[in-house]
Symmetry: C2
Subunit: 407 residues, 2 copies
């Protein structure tokens, strides 16, 4: 017997038929003798309608009211799934964020889970009842409904698994696992049977959308065994596990890419201490996330160039912010390149196996791909390239690192 | 300065434009220096969609899950209205049933309000904030969401007015008040400027749909000053008040009718003590509401007939129930007449003014209308007639009692 948290996203509960399908999935775990808590999202499309209403009823935005409105999406799904389970003879009840309760901070619309009092649910699980829990929502310190922001239901599921000391947290989605890269770009991509938390974290933050970065980080922190699998097939998924439970490791686990990047270059910046702090401080104050940064060698004129990448949606805003502090900085001009992509090779084993960077750069050079910015971590190398080379670069690297399914 | 509870039904908040219109109505009361609590229903159509989902996801019905699902309708409206008010510069926040809290019993789907802790809202009102309260919902003794059943939002508003010791409770709807009878049948019907609780109660239970019986009974019990008015015009509505605040009183306040009645007659029933108890006990056990009852004089054969009316939707069920207890009762046959209507004349003053029954019966006789069953209360006389005479009877009585607008 195991204690399992299952999480089903919006496409898995998009209509009554799919909700009944989810109920059958839950029942299978119950029939196998397991204790089951299920975390669900809103029916696909519902949240968009609610957000649309909340943002169009007036121009003033009250995040507390926004949360009360959008949280109804998950409230409907938990009720429907509980009924569907009862129809299969499974004892089940719904739990809203405030009923669990899932305590969060007061940052409405993007709240962080602070504490889950899982005792009540734990007791029900032990008594054989399935808990159907609304994802994405909690209760703030003032007793009002909060929501966790985008991808919040994954985070809810992982947090619940940690609080319930679950043996496993199964994230059901519309793909059947984590792949070595995006199969739409590289048909020879292979499903990974397992991946470490650190690798998954790098993959997620480098564009692989199968799991939210935030939920992976939480799983790593609490050592929650994650599985990513499909709600539409019965194939085994990908296990996301801690590094020490991985017996044998490939050099590279996967190639991730993020096509929606932009590169900014501040040209002719006075090369004196503190300028970087001014630039990135100003961007951070305006909530612009900066990813890769490179500073060119100073010239004899005591001037330097700083290049960095931001999400493309933030590009114009970033240019404006930099120009607003031109007086403080003294520079010539800000160049903005909207069409760049980030390509990353990810693998825990690169720590101990040199030559990954060499293989990566040689492979890209052989295809004539120019590298704008390079950044590395212990288990990842990322490069910024012209976006038009994205597919070519991903496929070439996938082959070069021996990840193709026929290799 | 007064403390006012306003209630807006589903058609008044059917879309974002109407919600903004409601916000303007609320602002007008705030600008007049009043403290305002607003109770709202779900957007028209929303509840039907939610009920549809909850009843079609499976055949098993869990009223607790049903309540969690359908309560989301009001949750969306309160959030949207709070935002709309803020956009007009009015300080406002939403309150869900469990946040107020509105304590109910545990009869999910048809819960009764047991107690409202209005202190938190009262304090906010005193501080100048508008409270936007979800109607129709509360929290049960087990901490789960309850709903009050059909027309529950009127009841929520009246209960809230009582708890807040409000000076007035304004029920906004799609008609502009209570009429002497249905203007669709009798074009000469007049809007009443006031009506007593008792009369309103009889009107409501006799088919006038403007207010739910249950909310009127509660208003009477707590002496809440009710006003019924339109959210689409600025005409003054009808005040529902206690009898002692009415200075001068017409004999008859109105003519109500209920077209969806059925008459059952148990023919040749053994005339011995206890048979009525058996008949109506069996019907009550199966939740069939019986309205008017008449028993014919016993014949020499020691047999009698009992006639009574039920809602037409319950007719077949009632026949079946009676036939199932035939052995206990001993009777010849149950006759069912599906096409009958109840016509009622209502007026507090009939207590002291004799001749109302005479006028009623003579008026109907002159038109050739046959009376099947007659029942009377202190302030009401009801008759059961063939349904095809409904409009004729209503118009004739309206004229006979001097209610026509040109009289």
């Amino acid at each position: 017997m195991a204690r399992i948290v299952q999480k089903f996203g919006g496409t898995s509960v998009a209509d009554l038929d799919r909700i009944r399908n989810v109920a059958a999935r839950v029942k299978a775990e119950v029939d196998a003798g397991n204790e089951v808590a299920v975390v669900v999202s809103a029916m696909a499309g519902t949240t968009n309608q609610l957000v649309d209403w909340a943002t169009n009823v007036g121009s003033i935005h009250d995040a507390r009211e926004y949360d009360a409105i959008v949280a109804t999406g998950e409230q409907v799904t938990v009720g429907l799934l509980a009924i569907a389970l009862q129809n299969l003879g499974v004892d089940a009840r719904s739990w809203l964020g405030w009923q669990v309760p899932v305590h969060t901070d007061d940052v409405h619309g993007a709240a962080r889970i602070e504490r889950i009092d899982a005792d009540a649910i734990s007791a029900r699980l032990a008594a054989g009842q399935v808990a159907v829990i609304a994802g994405f929502q909690g209760i703030g310190p003032d007793g009002r409904i909060t929501t966790l922001g985008r991808g919040g239901s994954d985070t809810s599921a992982v947090a619940m698994a940690a609080a319930l000391k679950a043996d496993r947290c199964d994230i059901y989605t519309d793909v059947d696992g984590v792949y070595t890269t995006d199969p739409r770009i590289a048909p020879k991509a292979q499903k990974l049977s397992q991946i470490t938390f650190e690798e998954m974290l790098e993959m997620a933050s480098s564009g692989a959308k199968v799991l939210q970065t935030r939920s992976v980080a939480m799983a790593m922190r609490h050592n929650v065994n994650l599985q990513v699998l499909s709600s539409f097939t019965h194939a085994e998924g990908t296990f996301v596990v801690s590094e020490d439970s991985v017996v044998e490791q490939e050099t590279i686990s996967g190639i991730a890419y993020s096509p929606d990047e932009a590169k900014l270059t501040i040209v002719g910046l006075a090369d004196k201490p503190g300028v970087a702090a001014i630039v990135f401080g100003a961007l951070a104050n305006h909530h612009v996330n900066v990813d890769m940064i490179v500073q060119s060698a100073s010239t004899k004129t005591k001037k330097t160039d700083i290049s960095f990448s931001v999400g493309r949606a933030d590009m114009d805003k970033a240019v404006k912010i930099i120009n607003e502090i031109k007086d403080q900085l003294a520079f010539d001009v800000v160049d903005a390149a909207p069409n760049v992509a980030k390509i990353s090779v990810v693998g825990t084993a690169m720590r101990t196996q040199p030559g990954v960077a060499k293989t990566m750069f040689e492979t890209l050079a052989a295809k004539g791909v120019n590298l704008h910015v390079i950044s590395t971590s212990e288990i990842k190398i990322s490069v910024l390239i012209d976006a038009e080379y994205t597919e070519l670069a991903v496929r070439s690297l996938h082959t070069a690192f021996g990840l193709d399914s026929d290799q």
